[in-house]
C-alpha cells in the first residue's frame, strides 16, 4: 500500500494546520478582548485618581471662596475678597474638568451637572452676601449668615462631592477586580494555547518525519524499479523503442538497435518514422507507423500482418509489434513504447507447416482410395478427388453439409452405427456396406480423426462383391438337388449346360441361349463354339475332345461373345455324370464369368507391386536420410570434441558440463543414425540377392569378433552348441547374433555373464536361442522390447532402442519369428526361427 502514507499525510497535515489556526484565533480573540478590558480598567484607575484630585481641588477652592467671603463680611476689607475672586475664576475650569472626566458615566455626569448648578447658586449667594456687606453694612450681612442658609448650601455641595468621590472609588474597586479576573483568564488562555501549540508542533514534527522517511523509501523504490525497467528493456529478447509525446526517440534497447540497424546515439531524438521504417510485405506500401497511431488515438495498437521492417542497412525483417501509450498518473501522455520482434523464424515455421500441409493434401489427392474427413458435427471438412469420383458428388456440393444431409439413406444403416461408434469410442472400424441409392458396395475404413472428428477411406468394391456373391451362390447351387439345380439354372448369372456323352450339345440350354443370344439350332452339336472368341475356339474344342475321350473333368478358360457382341472371360468346369452302370450319361458344365474377378485380381496385384515399390522407396529414403544426416552430425561431433579438447577445464565447470552434453549428444545421435541405417538396410540387402547357405557358427564367430571389446571388458563366458547351415544373408545373421549377444552382455546382472547360443530343429524350422543370466525382462515388456526406439532402461544401459527392432525386421523378412522368454532376475532367452532349407524371400 504505497499510497497510505501520502493519504495520511494529506489528511493529517491540513488537520494539524487547521487546529493550530483555531488555537491561535481563540488565543488572539481572547487576548484582544481581555486586553481591551485591561486597558479600560487601567484608564478607569487613572480617571478615578483624576476625579479624586479634581474633587479635592474643587472642595478646597470652594472652601477658599467661602473663607474669603466670610473674611470680607467680617472686616469689610477688600483684601479678603482676593481668594474669593480667584476661586470665582478657578471653579468653572474645575467644573469643566469634572464634566470631561465623568462624561462616560451618565450617573456621575448628572451629579456633576447638579454640582454645577449648586455651585452657581452658591456663588450667587456669596455674591449677594458680598453685595449686602458692601451696601448695607456688616450687621445686615451677619444677620443673613445667622440664618444658616450659607452653611446649608455648602454642606449640600460637600455631600455631593463626597458622593461623586465614593462612586468613583467604588467604580475603581469594581474595575480593579475585573482587571484581576481578565488578567487571570488571559494567563490561562496563553498557557493553554501554548501547550496546545507545542503539542501540535510535536505531532507535526513526528508526522513530517515519518512522511519524509516514506518519501525517501518511495524514491528508492522508484529508482530501483527504474533500474529494473532499464535492465528489462536492455535484456529482453523483444526490441523496445520509446518515444516522447512528439514521436521522437528517447530510447532503443540492444535488440531494437540490432533490428533497425541504428545505434542509440544516432537514433536519439530522431523521429521514429525515420528509424522504424515499415512497409507491407506484399504491396510495399508504407504502413502507418504504430507510434503515430498511438499518439493520435491514445490507444494500444497492434501491427497489421505482413509488416516488414526496413533496417538502416537495407535488410528486410518481418516483424510483429505493438505500441502502447506511456501516461503519467494524471493520464497525460508522455510518450509511446513500441515493442516488436523478428518473426522470420516463426514465418519460416508457418511456411514449412503450410507446405507440409500442402504435401499431405497432394498425397491425399493422388491416392486412389476415396478420403473423407468429417468434423464432430458430421460436416464434411475435406474430400479428395477420388472420393468425389466414387461418390459421384462434386466437392463443392458436399462442403459444409453433414454426411446425413448428403446421404440421407445412411441414417439408420449399419454405416451410421459404425461411424458413430468410431467417433464415440475413438477406435477404427473396417467394414463393407451396400449403399442402395448409388447401387454400389463400398469398403469403408474409418478412423478417429482430428478433434473428435473422423476420417473415412472408401473404395468402390461393387464388382468384387458381386462376383464373390455370384461364386458363393453358384457353389451353393451346384451342391443342391436336381430340382433346385434346375431352378437355379434359370436364375443364375452363371451358365449351366449339359452335353451328351459324346460331348455334343444337345437339347435346350436356356442359360447359354440367354447369354449368347444363340438360337436352339445354332448351339447344337459344336455350334456353341461359334460364340467362343475365334482365338479361343479351336483350343477349346481340342481340349474338350481330349477330356471327353479320357472321360476326365474338363477345366478351361475362354472368352464368350455376349448377345450384345461384348466378349466376357469365363472359367469353365465340366464333369461327366454317370448312370448306375458307370457309363457316362451326360456332361454337366458351368461357365462362370470371371471378367471382373480377373480385373480385380489384376488391380490387386498391381496395387501390391506399387505398395512394394513405395516400401522400397521409403527404405531407400530412410537409408539416404540417415546416411546424409551423418555428414553434418560429423561436424557437430568433431567440433564439439574440439571444444572439449581445447577448452575443457579452461572456462568454468558449467561450460565443461555443456560441452560434455554436446559431445555425448552427438555420440548418441551417431549411434542412432548407424542403427537406423542398419535397420533400413535389413531389407535392402534381402532384396538385393537370394541368400545362399551360410554357416551359423561362422556368423556367430564374426559377431563375437565384433563384440570383442565388450566381451573382454566384462569377462563374459560365451558358449555355443552345434549350429546348422541356414539360408540367410550372412551379414544379417551376423547382425542378429551381434545384437542378441550384445544385449545379453549389456543387460548383465551382478554376476559374470554366461551366454549360450543354441539351435534345435522343430518341424521345418530351426529354432535358435541366445540364453543369458542377466537382469531379465518383466512379463509386460516381453513384446514391447522389439519396437523401434523402445527402451526399458535409462542412461545406466546406453543404447538406441533399435537393436531388437533390427533383429525383428531381419527375422520377419526371412519368414521367421522372434520372441523372448524371461523371468526377472533369472536372465532371459531370445529365440528366433528360420526355415530349414532354402525359402523363398
Amino acid at each position: 500500500m504505497p499510497n497510505a502514507p501520502l493519504t495520511k499525510m494529506a489528511v493529517v497535515g491540513p488537520a494539524l494546520l487547521g487546529l493550530a489556526l483555531v488555537v491561535l484565533c481563540v488565543m488572539g480573540f481572547t487576548f484582544s478582548a481581555d486586553w481591551q478590558g485591561l486597558q479600560l480598567a487601567y484608564s478607569e484607575v487613572v480617571r478615578a485618581d483624576e476625579l479624586r484630585d479634581i474633587n479635592n481641588l474643587f472642595l478646597s477652592t470652594m472652601k477658599d471662596a467661602e473663607t474669603g467671603e466670610r473674611g470680607f463680611l467680617l472686616t469689610g476689607e477688600a483684601q479678603f475678597l482676593e481668594p474669593y475672586n480667584s476661586s470665582l475664576l478657578a471653579i468653572p475650569i474645575l467644573l469643566d474638568r469634572f464634566a470631561v472626566a465623568t462624561k462616560q458615566y451618565p450617573e456621575q455626569f448628572s451629579r456633576v451637572q447638579r454640582l454645577t448648578r449648586m455651585t452657581k447658586d452658591k456663588f450667587a449667594e456669596l455674591q449677594q452676601m458680598v453685595d449686602i456687606r458692601s451696601t448695607k453694612g456688616a450687621e445686615a450681612a451677619i444677620a443673613i449668615v445667622a440664618t444658616g442658609r450659607g452653611k446649608q448650601s455648602m454642606d449640600a455641595i460637600r455631600e455631593l462631592c463626597a458622593e461623586i468621590a465614593s462612586y468613583q472609588t467604588w467604580q475603581f474597586l469594581v474595575r480593579t477586580n475585573e482587571r484581576q479576573v481578565k488578567a487571570e483568564r488571559l494567563m490561562l488562555v496563553v498557557v493553554t494555547g501554548s501547550i496546545m501549540l507545542f503539542g501540535i508542533i510535536v505531532v507535526a514534527a513526528i508526522v513530517i518525519r515519518s512522511a519524509s522517511a516514506r518519501q525517501e523509501r518511495l524514491r528508492a523504490e522508484i529508482e530501483r524499479s527504474q533500474v529494473m525497467l532499464m535492465t528489462t528493456f536492455v535484456s529482453i529478447g523483444d526490441a523496445v523503442i520509446t518515444t516522447d509525446a512528439e514521436g521522437n526517440i528517447t530510447f532503443l534497447n540492444p535488440v531494437a538497435q540490432a533490428l533497425t540497424g541504428w545505434n542509440q546515439d544516432d537514433a536519439m531524438g530522431k523521429s521514429l518514422v525515420l528509424v522504424f521504417h515499415i512497409v507491407n510485405e506484399h504491396t510495399r506500401a508504407v504502413v502507418e507507423n504504430p507510434v503515430m497511431k498511438v499518439l493520435k488515438n491514445g490507444q494500444i495498437v497492434g501491427l497489421a500482418n505482413h509488416t516488414v521492417l526496413m533496417a538502416k542497412d537495407g535488410r528486410e525483417i518481418p516483424i510483429d509489434d505493438s505500441g502502447a501509450p506511456i501516461r503519467d498518473g494524471s493520464g497525460q501522455m508522455l510518450g509511446v513504447v513500441l515493442v516488436f520482434r523478428d518473426i522470420t523464424e516463426r514465418r519460416n515455421a508457418e511456411d514449412s507447416l503450410a507446405s507440409s500441409n500442402a504435401k499431405i493434401q497432394n498425397v491425399l489427392e493422388s491416392i486412389t482410395d476415396g478420403f473423407l474427413a468429417l468434423d464432430d458435427e458430421w460436416k464434411f471438412v475435406y474430400a479428395n478427388a477420388a472420393a468425389e469420383k466414387i461418390l459421384g458428388w462434386p466437392k463443392e456440393q458436399i462442403a459444409g453439409k453433414t454426411i446425413w444431409q448428403d446421404f440421407p439413406k445412411l441414417l439408420g444403416s449399419e454405416v451410421e452405427a459404425n461411424l458413430r461408434r468410431v467417433a464415440a469410442d475413438r477406435t477404427p472400424a473396417h467394414f463393407d456396406s451396400f449403399y442402395a441409392p448409388l447401387n454400389a458396395w463400398f469398403e469403408l475404413r474409418a478412423y478417429p480423426g482430428h478433434e473428435k472428428g473422423i476420417t473415412v477411406y472408401l473404395n468402390d468394391i461393387s464388382e468384387r462383391k458381386r462376383s464373390e456373391m455370384a461364386i458363393t451362390l453358384s457353389e451353393q447351387a451346384l451342391r443342391d438337388s436336381e430340382a433346385r439345380f434346375r431352378t437355379a439354372v434359370q436364375t443364375m448369372s452363371e451358365i449351366v449346360w449339359t452335353n451328351n456323352s459324346d460331348g455334343q450339345m444337345m437339347g435346350e440350354q436356356s442359360g447359354w441361349a440367354a447369354f449368347t443370344g444363340q438360337s436352339f439350332e445354332e448351339s447344337q452339336g459344336y455350334g456353341w463354339a461359334k460364340a467362343v472368341h475365334p482365338d479361343d475356339a479351336q483350343p477349346t474344342i481340342d481340349e474338350w475332345n481330349r477330356s471327353v475321350a479320357a472321360e476326365r473333368p474338363f477345366a478351361f478358360e475362354h472368352r464368350v461373345r455376349r448377345f450384345d457382341g461384348v466378349y466376357r472371360l469365363f472359367s469353365i468346369q465340366a464333369v461327366p455324370v454317370r448312370n448306375e452302370d458307370g457309363l457316362i450319361r451326360e456332361w454337366v458344365g458351368v461357365h462362370t464369368d470371371i471378367t471382373d474377378r480377373r480385373a480385380a485380381e489384376a488391380e490387386i496385384s498391381n496395387t501390391n507391386i506399387l505398395l512394394r515399390r513405395s516400401n522400397a522407396d521409403l527404405e531407400q529414403f530412410a537409408y539416404a536420410a540417415s546416411h546424409d544426416l551423418q555428414e553434418p552430425l560429423r561436424m557437430v561431433s568433431i567440433y564439439s570434441q574440439m571444444l572439449k579438447k581445447k577448452y575443457e577445464g579452461k572456462i568454468d565447470a558449467e561450460a565443461d558440463t555443456f560441452i560434455r552434453f554436446a559431445v555425448d549428444g552427438a555420440r548418441q545421435m551417431d549411434l542412432l543414425l548407424r542403427d537406423l541405417l542398419a535397420y533400413s538396410q535389413a531389407t535392402i540387402e534381402v532384396v538385393k540377392g537370394p541368400a545362399t547357405g551360410v554357416s551359423a557358427a561362422k556368423a556367430l564367430q564374426k559377431a563375437l569378433v565384433n563384440l570383442n571389446t565388450a566381451i573382454e571388458e566384462c569377462g563374459a563366458h560365451i558358449t555355443y552348441g552345434d549350429l546348422p547351415v541356414v539360408f540367410m544373408a550372412e551379414i544379417h545373421l551376423v547382425q542378429l547374433f551381434q545384437n542378441l549377444v550384445g544385449n545379453a552382455i549389456k543387460y548383465r546382472g551382478e554376476q559374470i555373464p554366461f551366454i549360450h547360443v543354441g539351435c534345435r530343429k522343430e518341424g521345418t524350422e530351426w529354432v535358435f536361442s541366445v540364453q543369458d543370466n542377466g537382469i531379465g525382462i518383466e512379463a509386460p515388456y516381453l513384446k514391447q522390447v522389439f519396437g523401434v526406439f523402445k527402451r526399458l532402461h535409462g542412461k545406466q544401459y546406453p543404447g538406441t532402442g533399435i537393436g531388437l527392432a533390427i533383429c525383428q525386421r531381419i527375422v520377419d523378412r526371412h519368414g521367421g519369428r522372434i520372441w523372448v522368454q524371461s523371468e526377472p532376475g533369472r536372465g532371459c532367452t531370445f529365440l528366433f526361427t528360420t526355415a530349414v532349407g532354402e525359402q523363398r524371400v
Binding site: E631, R634, M635, S637, I638, Q641, M642, R667, L677
Partner: protein, 147 residues
C-alpha cells in the same frame, strides 16, 4: 623431413573438414604447403593448368573429397591419374560414404588410400600420421583405411 615443403592438394568443399585436415597435417609435424580447392570444377581447372604448364611441379599428395559440388570427386581423381607428371602423386580419398560401390570405384580409378572421415576427432587427426607414413616411404596400402 626435407627442407622443401611437401605440396599437398586438398579438394574439399566443407570448411570444417578443411580446417581439420590442416590441423591434422600441422600436428603431424610435416613441413607442408597446402593448395586448397573447394569444388570439383575448380579442381579440374587447377589440374588442367598443371597439365598445360610443364614447369609447374606436381603435388606430392592429393586429398580428394568424393562428394563435391559441380564435378564429382571421382572425375577429379580420374583426371589426376591422366596427367603423366602426377603419376607419383599419391591420391587419398576422403569420404564419409558408406556405399561399398564408392570404395570399389575409387580403387579402380587408382586411389592410393581410402580415408573414411570418422566421427571421432582423434581418429580424424590420424590423417596427419597417415600422410607422414606414406611420405616416409612406408607402404600407403599398409596404412589402410582407419574406418
Amino acid at each position: 623431413m626435407n627442407d622443401t615443403p611437401v605440396t599437398i592438394l586438398l579438394v574439399e568443399d566443407n570448411p570444417g573438414d578443411v580446417y581439420l585436415v590442416r590441423l591434422a597435417l600441422q600436428q603431424s609435424g610435416l613441413n607442408f604447403s597446402l593448395v586448397e580447392v573447394s569444388d570439383g570444377e575448380e579442381a579440374m581447372r587447377y589440374l588442367n593448368a598443371l597439365s598445360d604448364d610443364d614447369t609447374a611441379p606436381a603435388p606430392s599428395f592429393a586429398l580428394l573429397d568424393l562428394n563435391l559440388p559441380r564435378v564429382d570427386g571421382k572425375r577429379v581423381l580420374e583426371r589426376l591419374k591422366e596427367i603423366p607428371k602426377c603419376s607419383h602423386t599419391r591420391a587419398i580419398v576422403l569420404t564419409s560414404s558408406e556405399y561399398p560401390a564408392d570404395r570399389a570405384d575409387v580403387d579402380r580409378l587408382g586411389a592410393d588410400c581410402y580415408f573414411h572421415k570418422p566421427q571421432d576427432l582423434e581418429a580424424f587427426l590420424k590423417l596427419g600420421d597417415l600422410v607422414v607414413s606414406m611420405w616416409s616411404g612406408e607402404s600407403g596400402a599398409a596404412a589402410g583405411s582407419p574406418s
